[in-house]
Symmetry: C2
Subunit: 196 residues, 2 copies
DNA sequence: ACGGTTCTTGACCGCCCAGTCAAGAACTCC
DNA sequence: GGAGTTCTTGACTGGGCGGTCAAGAACCGT
């Protein structure tokens, strides 16, 4: 598509994306219909297809924006830190802070994981995030700060902990983001046996 | 529904559930239609509705069976062990072994997590599994085997690691189940700083 | 005030969906 | 072989879906 948009057009587009995000987050991709989205904004169906090629493209757009935004926040958080372990920790905390603010986008990422059509797009973004962590792990291993283990495994394990505790404690139980981040960091660093 | 079924009927029912499981696992819940399921078995649509009330009920049935089966396998694996930490480890390994054999069912569980209609049923099963782990963690804390942390947090963290590494390494990368289990256990016990 | 562009409308299209049902086939038991 | 039950068929219904499009409204720059 890629139309030339006026300010008014940009606003409509943003409005569509915002509302669609909330509907997708609440019900999932398939149960959310285009008719529902436009009805929710009180506009005709043609508006949707003026700004987006398809429902699928809209979803991918939202997904891409969310991943980009999250990554930027993480980068900003660690830019001033040199210690690789602290970088990992700050990355986790930045991710948790982002998840607290962007619940809907976080849910969308979950949905994307279970839809074949979005799996690839999602994986691309996630691979980038994991690669960042892997870099820090390798550095830490080289410095003798942590024991020598497969960095990919460790990175994915940390992602798993973070994602799961975010869902369970931040979203479902309503804990404070900072507390959940503390728990994630503590578990990732020491497991259950360590002295952390 | 709950019909009185002959052996022939039982077989058909199993056949439907098995085929539906593979389709659901491959495409997800919504994209899999009842017509597709019956067509795949070469039978008329009425057959489906003779054995099940609805597509949703079928999915819930499959989900329930899977969770029950997984839990039974875990219980069997730890029944002879008294050390709580070893029980946790054996539970993880049993879960990984189950996931290796039941890829489709594992995927279904993932899908269930992103569908409001199945979230509750899923959570019920998962809470039971977590409660088991929590019990062992509490016991281990009481025995002074591990440091004193919130058992719920630790249990969920381990579930998160296990689920994520299963997906990433067992399913996507095709690693051996035993190796993945080793990685999960090692990370859960020692984190990245421990001497594991 | 006019011509060009951007944006909006909502009826409409073809398609596929979950679910129904009257009819009949296949078993079972006597 | 007949009566009763279990199982199967597949056309059909009603409805919602994603997406289209001709028509027109709103907003330019000049």
């Amino acid at each position: 598509m890629t139309r030339r948009l006026t300010q008014r057009g940009q606003d409509r587009r943003d409005q569509l994306m915002a509302f669609a995000t909330s509907r997708f987050a609440e019900q999932g991709y398939h149960p959310t219909s285009v008719s529902e989205i436009v009805a929710g904004l009180g506009v005709g169906k043609g508006v949707f297809y003026w700004y987006f090629d398809s429902k699928e493209q809209l979803f991918l757009e939202i997904l891409r924006e969310a991943q980009t935004d999250l990554r930027r926040k993480q980068q900003q958080a660690i830019v001033d830190e040199t210690d690789p372990i602290r970088r990992i920790e700050l990355g986790i905390r930045a991710s948790m802070a982002w998840s607290e603010v962007h619940r809907d986008h976080n849910k969308l990422i979950q949905f994307a994981a279970t839809e074949a059509a979005f799996g690839e797009a999602l994986r691309r973004g996630q691979d980038i995030a994991v690669a960042d962590v892997v870099k820090h792990v390798k550095e830490a291993v080289a410095l003798g700060l942590i024991r020598d283990t497969d960095p990919d495994v460790v990175a994915h394990a940390m992602v798993g902990v973070s994602a799961h505790l975010t869902r369970t404690f931040l979203y479902e139980r309503g804990d404070r983001a900072e507390d959940v981040a503390d728990a994630v960091v503590s578990f990732c660093l020491h497991g259950i046996l360590g002295q952390g």
